[in-house]
Subunit: 356 residues, 4 copies
Amino acid sequence: MSQKLQVAVAGVGRMGMRHARHFATLTPRAELIAVCSPVQSELDAAKAEFGCRTYTDYETMLNEEKTLQAVVVASATTVHAEQAIKAIERGLHVLCEKPISTSPEISQSVVDAYKASIKKFPSQKVICGFSRRFDASYRDAHARMAAGNIGTPSVFRSQTCDKLDPSGFFVAYAEFSGGIFVDCSIHDIDLALWFFGEETKVKSVTAIGITAVQPDLRKHNDRDNALGIIEFYGGKIAQLYCSRMMAAGQEDCTEIFGTDGKIAINTQPQLNLVNLYESTGIRREIPADYYGRFREAFITEANEFTASCLDDTKPPLRLDSAVKAVAIGCALQESLITGKKIEFDGSGKRVEVSHL
Amino acid sequence: MSQKLQVAVAGVGRMGMRHARHFATLTPRAELIAVCSPVQSELDAAKAEFGCRTYTDYETMLNEEKTLQAVVVASATTVHAEQAIKAIERGLHVLCEKPISTSPEISQSVVDAYKASIKKFPSQKVICGFSRRFDASYRDAHARMAAGNIGTPSVFRSQTCDKLDPSGFFVAYAEFSGGIFVDCSIHDIDLALWFFGEETKVKSVTAIGITAVQPDLRKHNDRDNALGIIEFYGGKIAQLYCSRMMAAGQEDCTEIFGTDGKIAINTQPQLNLVNLYESTGIRREIPADYYGRFREAFITEANEFTASCLDDTKPPLRLDSAVKAVAIGCALQESLITGKKIEFDGSGKRVEVSHL
Amino acid sequence: MSQKLQVAVAGVGRMGMRHARHFATLTPRAELIAVCSPVQSELDAAKAEFGCRTYTDYETMLNEEKTLQAVVVASATTVHAEQAIKAIERGLHVLCEKPISTSPEISQSVVDAYKASIKKFPSQKVICGFSRRFDASYRDAHARMAAGNIGTPSVFRSQTCDKLDPSGFFVAYAEFSGGIFVDCSIHDIDLALWFFGEETKVKSVTAIGITAVQPDLRKHNDRDNALGIIEFYGGKIAQLYCSRMMAAGQEDCTEIFGTDGKIAINTQPQLNLVNLYESTGIRREIPADYYGRFREAFITEANEFTASCLDDTKPPLRLDSAVKAVAIGCALQESLITGKKIEFDGSGKRVEVSHL
Amino acid sequence: MSQKLQVAVAGVGRMGMRHARHFATLTPRAELIAVCSPVQSELDAAKAEFGCRTYTDYETMLNEEKTLQAVVVASATTVHAEQAIKAIERGLHVLCEKPISTSPEISQSVVDAYKASIKKFPSQKVICGFSRRFDASYRDAHARMAAGNIGTPSVFRSQTCDKLDPSGFFVAYAEFSGGIFVDCSIHDIDLALWFFGEETKVKSVTAIGITAVQPDLRKHNDRDNALGIIEFYGGKIAQLYCSRMMAAGQEDCTEIFGTDGKIAINTQPQLNLVNLYESTGIRREIPADYYGRFREAFITEANEFTASCLDDTKPPLRLDSAVKAVAIGCALQESLITGKKIEFDGSGKRVEVSHL
């Protein structure tokens, strides 16, 4: 077997630890050599589980790990872009957790850094981790659509509903999350771009929302349930729903309506293949969170990113598409708050329309 | 058994014949005594099947049928209001097919006629036939919601997707249908009002749409796929999808998201309880049209309307709610065409907002 | 419309009242003119609901109702055969509830009476009410099988699971029910004959069973859960499960495995199209009893039986097949109790085999 | 991390290669060091993929691999027992593919060898690979049953239906497979023992079968579809169906009926979460074979076997239970061929009963 990709993970909170685990133990061609985190207890946990080196400072890690080839950026969203750029400029491969940033401009700066760097390091891979692109069901759906099985995909519906967390976590989280459309719907927006084609241009977005269970979200200009509609140039439309109040667990489903058929993904959610027949009827459980739903996809992501780096093959997704998704998410979030429809011209520039 | 309700049906095209059949043979407490239609072949078919009297002229029928107690208006939408009003003014009970009219003003005129008439005929019943209100599954869902099982209903999603009809029928039909939101989504809008409460007031509507399979619909300012979002006062929102291009058949489904749970109706559509295991996988069929899905509901409608007339009990639904549904449908259709968000103040009056 | 079939119902207990209702109000071509029952309160209830004549004595009813054309025998199973024969001998049409009798010989005597009578009354119709044959899903399945969609039907699996009734009702009931295979599985056996062909000959039966929740059933040589396997001549086999302890409600499902595919009926049982998303997962209810599952089938049965009588068309099912079902049910019940496999030769005669 | 378990795989045909892959790349705590096979092309493929040492002779491998700790026996069933015993006698850990042997006596000899060996090597682990025991859905079901959620498990139904393979492969295969009950149903029998308790004693078995698609199977005393029923002491019964003619793919499902509820596993089979809405209805695919259904379970098996060996913890399943499963499978196969019910006394000895 060829040499293993030398990987470090920046940020080993809940999701960072999972990434570390996927690279350390479930990605045969990768080797986790180091992690960094400002939180000592997180470093201790990582060291205990993986036996890797640990750093409290990101740059120190980059400086000292001489064999380092790839960095997984799984820190707080607010530092994603900065950390990604530092790694990019050193010619390292980067897998950056979504979103690159809650700002389209900052997101674009990462793409710009990559465009500059790749001239020097032509084999460098930088991707944003849209995990659903690695999910077997979404891939099956996309392959069928690409094979023409549903004719022209024309209408897209997708929703990301998180399980209700009555702890108030999401209120504090909303201060930096970029809002529900940027935090939750970013996946659905990315999927819309993937299914409609990443070149597809947005024409308008409109959103509405409520605070049904967490009125304090309004302090941070956020909502706990929101609906959005997106018009694309070329006769394609999309419908989004994002929510923080699903009782049963995580419910992420998507439908693509084509001129000759429809593909539905996860419209009958389930935890596993068990059904319980009880005096109250037939019951099945569903995953409690996105990791319960997408664990296998994250593992596939780690393996494919690794293979792309080692074999210098095309990365499994395009970085610029991630910027586009952030821009659409931000526009939806703005419409949600202002109540205004936001329109774009064919070049992607915003149109300020008088509706009088 | 008490005496049977003496019923006539105005309009015996496809759906009118079904109404006639429901009253003639599947409503034990009703008797179909007459039908009218301008089309002689339709009258002949009705006479052959039911042995009832037939008329080419609606007013003649009203004049000559001295024992007539109730009229089912199942003629072309364009004459619904006029025929309904003529029957109302004579003190007859009326079951009018939806929509009352494609115009909110004309719809309101039927309500006004009823309000005037009921002073003279206090037992008179006039309803608009929103068949889904009589469907066992929707009723079960509504009862559970009303019992508080999902907390406060906050988000509503509903779609009406007709099977693709490549014949071009819908292009011609669009000239008088009022548009896809008035023709298809009217049921979903009525359900939103039913689940959120008929007093709920609309705050804004926005819609977008495309012509994916029938570009000629644009001649009549219509679309074959459309998405709409509705804001209501009181922190409730709704999402609609209507389509004329579903490959598999009729797909009408609804979800009501509450603060404590969700109820889904028909999100796993099926024709019956049969699953076919074939070399290509597992397959089930779905109803080809709304009648395949809602036949039992129509029969329940006939029976409950009859009971309400004979027993002088509260009619199974409110007429003024039907006007509200038409008004919302028309606003969505307008937004679909103009691209503008339409807003309403708390009294239901339209607000002309500058978005500058 | 032609004249209505004049119908009487013998026995107006729970199921008899339902038959009466189906003929009185849901079978347009029939008229319920009389009922009989030894229980005065049942007669009072029937009179109040249908306004029909009532009799405490069956023969008196037959004697006095001069216009009577058809009798529905829905009394206790122990008098089914006797009442059926009395009606048959007068030339009346008969719809006899299943089973004709718990004895194959007595069941055969009804067939013999019919064979004798039909020479005198060539238009006479006598059927045994296997309701599932009138169910839309089973019919769809049968039509697909008959059309060759699954190749040669070769393996049949069917189960009838009643909701657990902790009242002890089934213990008392077992004294006269004929046992769980005759009472419950008779439907599954009838379906096996229908799907494999009514000429199909049984080769062997074996059964085993337990008393998991009602040990007192052993007093009447019965069990609350039983499994049976049936071999037919011609390379076809069947598997049955009958139970009295289903927690969730009535669960009746069937699968037919052919050389080219499988048809499954009701393997995903449901009360209606509602799914409830709760903190414990996704839940749906199922029918509480067989009437909740098969109400529409009973109504279809009433209408088709009526049509067959009035129009002198082929009855919707064959009476001799019902005798065959009873014989197989009795053999399974015997095997259940004795522990022995029971074998039949090609002429249907029992073979006493030494297994030494 | 502790040192990795040094593993060799005997037999690298289709399933052996999968085992090799699971240990080489998906079991972080294991290292694949060698494989053996009499087929050079298989060795070449293994060497190319894993870079491990290769042997044409099993004993040579055992002799030369001085660091070897564990052997996976994935060769032809006919040599399972012999190879397992050789490894056992050297004190190696063994994961033996199912069945240990098609003969209960030979299977027992492996257990005997292990019982003798473990006195010398008290940390030695020997298991038979019943993959379903490692499947997340079966485990969830078992945990719920063990927690008392369905009361006393009383009736067990399970089926293993392989996709129809028209190539004739299964005819040749039947010569050594032990027959359909030993080859296919062994998993279902093992599950019955697991759900009912491994101490549960069989009281009788009866089986019937047909050759619906492969009449040549009769040459080897086999069938392509078979039904079996099993009585256990203690009031528990089981129903099996095994088939080689499923059109849609692999369909393995299981139901456990308890006194208070039922658990169903995979009664709505699916390949993934995709549903296709086409002009013919709604369709989903199912896995083509057992590996498509149980791949994750095999990986879990490899990891848990490895952990048990390295940490000297209780092996994930008991070896003697595997012998019991073979004995029941053989009895069912015998009953299938002879047509006789086979009975056992409470000590597990066969009872020769006269049925006269």
